[in-house]
Amino acid sequence: MHAFQYHRPTSSKEAIGLAGQKAEGRYLAGGQSLVQAMKLRLSSPSDLIDLGTIKELAGVKVSGSAVEIGAMTRHAEVAASAEVKRAIPSLAAMAGMIGDRQVRHMGTIGGSLANNDPAADYPAAVLALNATVTTNKRKIGADQYFKGLYETALEPSELITAVSFQVPKRGAYMKFKNPASRFALVGVFVADFGSGNVRVGVTGAGPSAFRQTEMEKALSAKFAPEAVAAIKVKPDGLNNDLHASPEYRAHLITVMCKRAVEQALK
């Protein structure tokens, strides 16, 4: 790991101020992606701005139609939150499927979304639950947030403060885990908001999470597994690596979507 300077601000304001002054500065959340990347020298920031002690960035707030999760809320906290379980059980269940116990104790929603790993789970939930990413500067809609492989709409030193998910009538997340890393080979989040409004978020399959509009249309007409069972997803542009071919991933999207609908109907 290359040397860096370490900072421990106690407020978002102080953190943003520091980030603005340091050209190669990076926020540090759980460190579960960033510290790994720094050890491999894939990332070598001049300064780390640790968000770990900023109290205002952590916690869950539920208001009628939305669940707002602070950027520094750990995956294990979302998975165990009675409020999240009551309002959007599928979201709590998804958080409990991330990585392993130790990773869930450190990793945060803000870090996951800023990082935008192609196989991360939260991006599928953000798209399906039509979430809004709140930063120190603005509110970014789910459909405007993801830009490509590890790329988002965030500007340098822009800080995610919270993520607000809309409460669906029902929903579910199905993940085909890579057996070694536990990341999603393919993960599909289905959310039914009622009156023919269904959203389907897919992760792991492409360079960045995306919505599957053909399935959304079919499920909006009829929210049932058989509505999507015959949909053949085109493999064009899907990821090709040693874990799976684009054709296999395309096939998995349909299978996982079907299972997610079955689960949502339970």
């Binding site: 790991m1 290359h2 040397a3 860096f4 300077q5 370490y6 421990r8 540090l28 759980g30 460190g31 579960q32 510290v35 790994q36 720094m38 050890k39 780390l48 640790d50 770990g52 294990a76 990585g99 392993d100 116990r101 130790q102 990773v103 104790h105 450190m106 070694a180 890393s181 536990r182």
Partner: protein, 159 residues
């Protein structure tokens, strides 16, 4: 460059001047000479480096020591009673033959202790899921699962 880091390890306050890039596991092993916490992969996969940070199991190879500033850290060295009597979870590993070479064992025990504190009578399935972040190259896991189920029950009974 160096910074001052202070935390509580196994109940004792410790502090040292370290390089900012020092990982928590390096601080524990090299500065404090507590070598029961192991490094099996250094890439966040194996869990041999698992310790408790404020009561929660984490991988000490995947955070920098400064992230634990002011925190309470528990390592395998402080799990047994000072007179050498094994903790019920350690005793369960011994009785159920839950280790062979022993390299993964400190991480297995630290993860199991945290897991068992919220799962007094876990099912086999729950225990297997709890081990997603811990690798063992020897045992084939069956006896580790047995050990943790027995250890969790023994912990609950001792309460």
């Amino acid at each position: 460059m160096s910074v001052r880091v202070s935390m509580k390890v196994n109940g004792k306050p410790v502090s040292a001047d370290i390089e900012e890039r020092t990982l928590l596991v390096s601080f524990i092993r090299e500065n404090l000479r507590l070598t029961g916490t192991h490094v099996g992969c250094d890439t966040a996969q194996c869990g041999a480096c698992t310790v408790h940070l404020n009561g929660k199991a984490i991988k000490s190879c995947s955070i920098v020591a400064m992230q634990a500033e002011g925190a309470d850290i528990l390592t395998i060295e402080a799990v047994a009673h000072p007179d050498g009597t094994l903790h019920p979870m350690q005793a369960a590993f011994k009785e159920n033959h839950g280790l062979q070479c022993g390299f993964c064992t400190p991480g297995m025990v630290m993860n199991a202790l945290d897991f068992a504190s919220s799962h007094p009578n876990p099912s086999e399935q729950e225990v297997r899921e709890s081990l997603e972040g811990n690798l063992c190259r020897c045992t084939g896991y069956h006896n580790i699962v047995k050990s943790i189920m027995a250890g969790a029950r023994a912990m609950a009974a001792a309460k």
